[in-house]
């Protein structure tokens, strides 16, 4: 299982302080909208806590009144009071509450197309993984990756979303709201993470058999570290290979893996599946399905369909254990 690093979560302000500690502890989690690590998510978490407080008050008032009228003060009362109750409770109160809520809620309606600080990332939903292209400002060609998102902290990044086959939805709860991904149409989302760390994202729109396993990790990095990482991501795959990895590279070629996967700098230029040029540098395998141990690589190669139902990649279970290990060594070494 991918394990998220511990991190300091941005605390929702003011009202949350009144809530008990266990409740707050219960809000933690790598995929929690209540442990925000970005500007957009923090605003929404505050919105939630305020609305929750209001909702609790209204819930108690309404049901308290009902209990009072049916159990405590059951005798008949004046009809004038009753009419005021309808006007006050049914019209005035909701009007005031929802007007206030709308004014506030819509004023923070994030503009999904709002301009970023330069970096743009194109994410395409595939069956069931994520094709990712980084377009730094002024770039003429993208840096291609898959199944993880890296973002510079403190900067607003634009995400351009689309999909290859069916509708997906792109969502990193700790950083902000979700946005659907359509075939044949582009949607936009911009995010400004504030806390460096690792967060989990997941497809939110049902997209078929392996919807449950269409996830990824989002790494928020200090801007300098991000720039270094992006520079390292560009360019061909590394060529210095161990003996096992060299054998694995041969198996990769023999099994025709290059028909679907690209490893830049080699003859493998398939585009059906994820780009594997730097697969070894990623923190999950199979779009958030597994960790990155050697065993995980072997399991993925030989039991693909068991791990991810109806996935398009066939299981290479005819490989001997030694062959699978060599292939795993090769891929894992592509950092």
């Amino acid at each position: 299982m991918p394990r998220s690093k511990a991190r300091a979560a941005a605390r929702p302000k003011a009202l949350s302080a009144a809530l008990t500690l266990p409740l707050l502890a219960g809000c933690e989690g790598a995929q929690s909208a209540l442990a925000p690590a970005g500007e957009d998510a923090a605003v929404l978490a505050t919105l939630f806590w305020v609305m929750l407080s209001g909702a609790v008050v209204l819930f108690l008032a309404m049901n308290g009144l009902f209990f009072y009228l049916t159990r405590i003060r059951v005798q008949a009362q004046s009809e004038t009071v009753a009419r005021w109750l309808i006007v006050g409770g049914g019209i005035v109160l909701p009007f005031v509450v929802i007007s206030a809520l709308l004014v506030w809620g819509l004023s923070i309606l994030p503009d999904h197309r709002q301009a970023g600080d330069g970096l743009r990332i194109r994410v395409t939903g595939e069956q069931w993984w994520w094709r990712v292209e980084y377009w730094p400002e002024g770039a003429t060609e993208p840096v291609i990756s898959a199944n993880e998102i890296r973002l510079p902290a403190g900067q607003r990044t634009e995400l351009i979303l689309d999909s290859a086959h069916v509708i997906h939805s792109f969502w990193i709860p700790a950083l902000g709201g979700k946005m659907d991904m359509f075939p044949g149409r582009e949607t936009f989302l911009s995010l400004r993470p504030t806390q460096p760390g690792t967060y989990r994202g997941q497809c939110a729109e049902f997209c078929g058999a392996s919807h449950a396993w269409m996830a990824f990790e989002a790494h928020v990095m200090a801007p300098e570290a991000f720039d270094d990482w992006l520079a390292a991501q560009a360019g061909p795959a590394q060529t210095a290979l161990s003996d096992a990895a060299r054998r694995g590279a041969g198996i990769f070629t023999r099994e025709g893996c290059g028909a679907c996967h690209t490893i830049r700098g080699t003859e493998h230029i398939g585009v059906v599946g994820p780009d594997l040029t730097r697969v070894g540098s990623r923190t999950t395998l199979g779009a958030g399905r597994l960790g990155v141990s050697l065993d995980a690589y072997r399991a993925w190669i030989t039991h693909t369909g068991d791990l991810k139902p109806e996935v398009e990649m066939p299981a290479y279970d005819h490989l001997s254990e030694a062959e699978a290990t060599d292939l795993a060594q090769y891929l894992r070494g592509l950092e």
């Binding site: 909208a33 605003v43 009902f66 059951v74 809620g105 999904h112 939805s169 709201g177």
Partner: protein
């Protein structure tokens, strides 16, 4: 021209005699012997068939009971699916069921709860209760209710059983394309065709309920005196009429894509999956209120009884219910907040979604106000209402949160939504419906349910529900998306899911207790009092022991709570002092009154037991079920047989010239036995049906303009258009068909029977010509190549099918004229066909303009 019949003057169809009845007339006793003789004749006319013929019954009490029990059974099946879903999610990385099976389970759970339980249950309960509340003997079209029930049984069973063969639909209950269109196997077709079949039955029931509430009220019960339940029936029936057709239109396009590869939702050929989302949610959001309002209606019946006084704010409640009905059609986009629509749309639909709080709030506070001014005596139904209030307010409050678009960006498609929708549906449907079951059970089955078991099942369901669904809010906020078949550990979801699963089984235990209480044999139980809750509305005038006639005589009503406010009404009803106390001809009859002020207009002969409804339902079922597996010819054959069965049924049982033009209905009042045009129930049913039909057509036209606005190249440059000449010919011919029908009605009424027959034949010919010309106009287009020719062909197909229907109707009237069923003074069929023609000519001209003109202009 034969002028023989014109020689006779038209029969006087005005009501004759004193109305309203004076107190002296009502005070006059009915002789005992006469009472007994009348009761015997009435009993004979309304006798429920015995033995295996029992299943031919069409009486609202029988059909309503079957309908309720079937909907309950479907609900329990869907509940078992939910339990399997919860078991699978109880622990992380579970492999109890496969991903594929899990998708089938949640798709069918949602679809069945919505289409096989929530909406049919409302219609079932209303069919069962409405005639009682209105003091009517039956619904206006009993065989239509029976037909609808058998369709529901066949279609529902078909859809549910698919899961046993591992071929159930599996794209989620809102079937988003392209996932659902691309899905291999018959799952999506089962959903589309099986549920369309049921939707059509639902619309039929809605038509009948609307006509029932408008035309079958007792004399004197003006609209502002109707029981609130009847108002809700009207509002909800109207909503069904406008909400289901967009979905049916969507299903039509969807199935054309599945079967014939017409690319409505395929972006690679100009289609757009967003069109389905719009059509689905234009249906889907009103659907929520279609489910919720009837439950409010039950509360509106229980609360005055509990408070021992009339409801406070009757007009406020009615206006609010109507307001909710209207508003609910303007909110659908809040299901699509995360699809990247412009912020201005999000803001508008956020505000509209919030606005619905006000009419909902007025209704809830009017109930509280009634409790405030009354002297409350709690009873078991009220306990369930209390539970409903607690659960529903929580669901409503999370709804207010969700309507704020930015918050929805976070929790949309998560377990927060799952929690929210179950809170609204349990609070807004399950709890009130069970309250209704406990409240109305003595009326329905003349027995009481157990107080002790009722409390047990309440507390089990109430606590189980909150244990199951309250934690789900947090599960969703912690990031768990809905519809995942399993999840990894370590995200904070494990405990919450386990707790939810435990809660689900507590709910199930509560339902077991409830169902046991409902179904356990109660033979030895003494008969309950006639009005056990001391309620004020007419249904509690029911007979104990049971009688199939509905009411012994149809009362004159002058108050909202006649049993409280009209002393002596019960005794007079029982004595047969009021209207229609007798069945001299041994025919089933009920009273038809005017829409607004319920003046008596007509004695309506209603249909009795028959097998024809089963035959028609079975063939209609075949017509929908065969195409699911790609058997198109058997489907066509079934369709033809279904049509023949329905024609036989209409021919033998509806709009037959009566043996006498008028009859005495009691209290000196004499009413016609045959009316045509706006006074008749058939005309109203046609009018209401055509509103739904026009809505479906408008939805397809909406599709055309949706593509036009959403795409830069629609129609694509150089696209082949439909033939202009043929389209113009079609428009002319279809307009001529309309003119000829109107002439036929006019000439027939004036006794020019031969001319009328010629006009009808001409109408059939021109309608066929028009349909044919339109088919020729689009014949050269290749609908599989691009969405533009596809949508043009879909519009043409719709018109051609209606033209074929029109031809059948014209020939039916022609045959009726020759057979003496349609005469100058008995022209109800022709009036109804003329009404159909009004709608059809409008939609034809719109279609021809869109097909022939619009693409050349835009």
């Amino acid at each position: 021209m034969s002028a023989d019949k014109a020689a006779l003057p038209p029969p006087d169809r005005r009501p004759l005699g004193p109305y309203p009845p004076t107190p002296e007339m009502l005070a006059e006793p009915v002789p005992e012997a006469l009472q007994r003789a009348q009761a015997d004749r009435l009993r004979a006319a309304w006798r429920t068939p015995k033995g295996w013929r029992y299943w031919t019954a069409v009486n609202n009490t029988e059909v309503g009971k079957w309908y309720c029990l079937t909907a309950l059974a479907f609900m329990l099946c869907a509940g078992v699916m939910a339990l399997i879903i919860r078991l699978q999610l109880a622990v992380p990385d579970n492999d109890l069921v496969s991903s594929d099976r899990f998708s089938q389970l949640f798709t069918l759970h949602g679809s069945a709860m919505m289409f096989l339980f929530a909406v049919p249950m409302f219609e079932a309960i209303s069919i069962l209760l409405l005639p009682g509340m209105l003091g009517a003997r039956d619904m206006p079209f009993p065989r239509l209710s029976a037909f609808g029930y058998w369709c529901f049984l066949i279609g529902g069973t078909f859809v549910l059983v698919s899961i046993l063969f591992d071929i159930a639909p599996r794209a989620g209950w809102f079937m988003y394309p392209p996932l659902a269109t691309q899905d291999e196997g018959p799952g999506s077709d089962i959903w589309l065709l099986g549920l369309s079949f049921i939707e059509i039955a639902s619309i039929a029931a809605a038509v009948e309920l609307i006509v029932g509430a408008l035309k079958c009220r007792p004399p004197g019960m003006r609209v502002n005196m109707m029981p609130l339940y009847a108002w809700y029936v009207l509002v909800v029936g109207g909503m069904i009429l406008f909400a289901f057709p967009p979905l049916i239109a969507g299903d039509f396009l969807f199935e054309l894509e599945r079967s014939l590869d017409w690319p409505f939702f395929d972006p690679t050929r100009g289609g757009d999956p967003m069109l389905w989302q719009h059509l689905f949610w234009i249906f889907g959001h009103p659907e929520v209120y279609i489910v919720f309002l009837p439950s409010i209606a039950i509360a509106a019946m229980v609360i005055p009884t509990v408070a021992r006084r009339p409801i406070v704010g009757y007009s406020w409640i009615v206006l609010s219910a109507v307001g909710v009905g209207f508003l609910s059609f303007g909110l659908w986009v809040h299901h699509m907040f995360t699809t990247g629509l412009p912020s201005i749309s999000l803001g508008f639909f956020s505000a509209a979604s919030q606005a619905v709080v006000i009419p909902t709030g007025i209704q809830l506070f009017a109930f509280l106000a009634t409790l405030l001014v009354g002297r409350v005596t709690m009873n078991l139904p009220m306990l369930w209402i209390a539970g409903a209030l607690a659960v529903f307010t929580l669901g409503g409050l999370t709804g207010v949160m969700l309507a704020i678009a930015p918050f929805d960006f976070q929790v949309h498609d998560t377990y927060f939504i799952v929690a929210h929708l179950h809170y609204t549906l349990f609070g807004g449907m399950i709890f009130p419906v069970i309250a209704g079951v406990y409240y109305f059970f003595p009326f329905i089955s003349k027995k009481m349910l157990s107080e002790r078991l009722g409390r047990w099942s309440f507390w089990l369901i109430f606590t189980g529900f909150n244990i199951c669904f309250l934690p789900m809010h947090l599960t969703g906020l912690l990031g768990m998306p809905r519809r995942i078949y399993t999840y990894p550990t370590g995200l904070g979801w494990d405990w919450l899911n386990l707790i939810s699963t435990v809660g689900a089984f507590i709910i199930a235990a509560g339902f077991l207790v409830f169902v046991w209480d409902l179904l356990r044999p109660k033979g030895k139980q003494p008969q309950p009092p006639r009005n056990p809750w001391q309620a004020g509305t007419l249904e509690w005038s029911h007979d104990i022991p049971e009688e199939a006639w509905g009411v012994r005589s149809i009362p004159h009503v002058t108050t909202r709570y006649p049993l409280w406010e009209q002393p002596g009404i019960l005794e007079r009803m029982d004595a047969g002092r009021y209207y229609l106390p007798d069945a001299e001809e041994g025919r089933r009859e009920t009273l038809i009154t005017s829409v607004i002020d319920a003046r008596p207009l007509q004695v309506q002969r209603v249909t009795g037991p028959s097998w024809i409804t089963h035959v028609a339902a079975a063939f209609t079922g075949g017509c929908f079920i065969f195409p699911t597996f790609g058997y198109y010819w058997p489907a066509v054959v079934c369709g033809v047989f279904a049509g023949m069965a329905i024609l036989y049924w209409l021919w033998t049982a509806t709009a037959r010239p009566p043996e006498a033009e008028r009859k005495d209905v009691g209290l000196g009042l004499s009413l016609p036995t045959y009316v045509s045009g706006p006074d008749s129930v058939g005309w109203w049913a046609m009018w209401i049906t055509m509103l739904g039909d026009a809505t479906a057509f408008a939805s397809i036209i909406f599709g055309f303009f949706f593509y036009w606005t959403a795409q830069d190249d629609f129609p694509p440059d150089g696209a082949l258009h439909a033939g202009a000449g043929e389209t113009a010919l079609a428009a002319l011919a279809l307009a001529a068909a309309w003119g000829l029908v109107l002439l036929a009605r006019r000439w027939n009424r004036h006794g020019a029977v031969t001319a009328a027959r010629l006009a009808l034949a001409g109408a059939a010919l021109t309608a066929a010509t028009g349909g044919g010309a339109l088919a020729l106009a689009v014949w050269p287009l290749d609908p599989t190549s691009h969405v533009y020719p596809a949508v043009i062909c879909a519009i043409a197909l719709w018109i051609c099918v209606h033209a074929a229907l029109a031809v059948v109707m014209h020939l039916y009237c022609l045959a009726g004229s020759f057979a003496g069923k349609l005469t100058p003074h008995h022209d109800a069929d022709l009036c109804n066909v003329a009404l159909f023609s009004h709608f059809f000519v409008l939609s034809s001209l719109v279609a021809c303009a869109v097909i022939g003109l619009a693409p050349r202009l835009i």
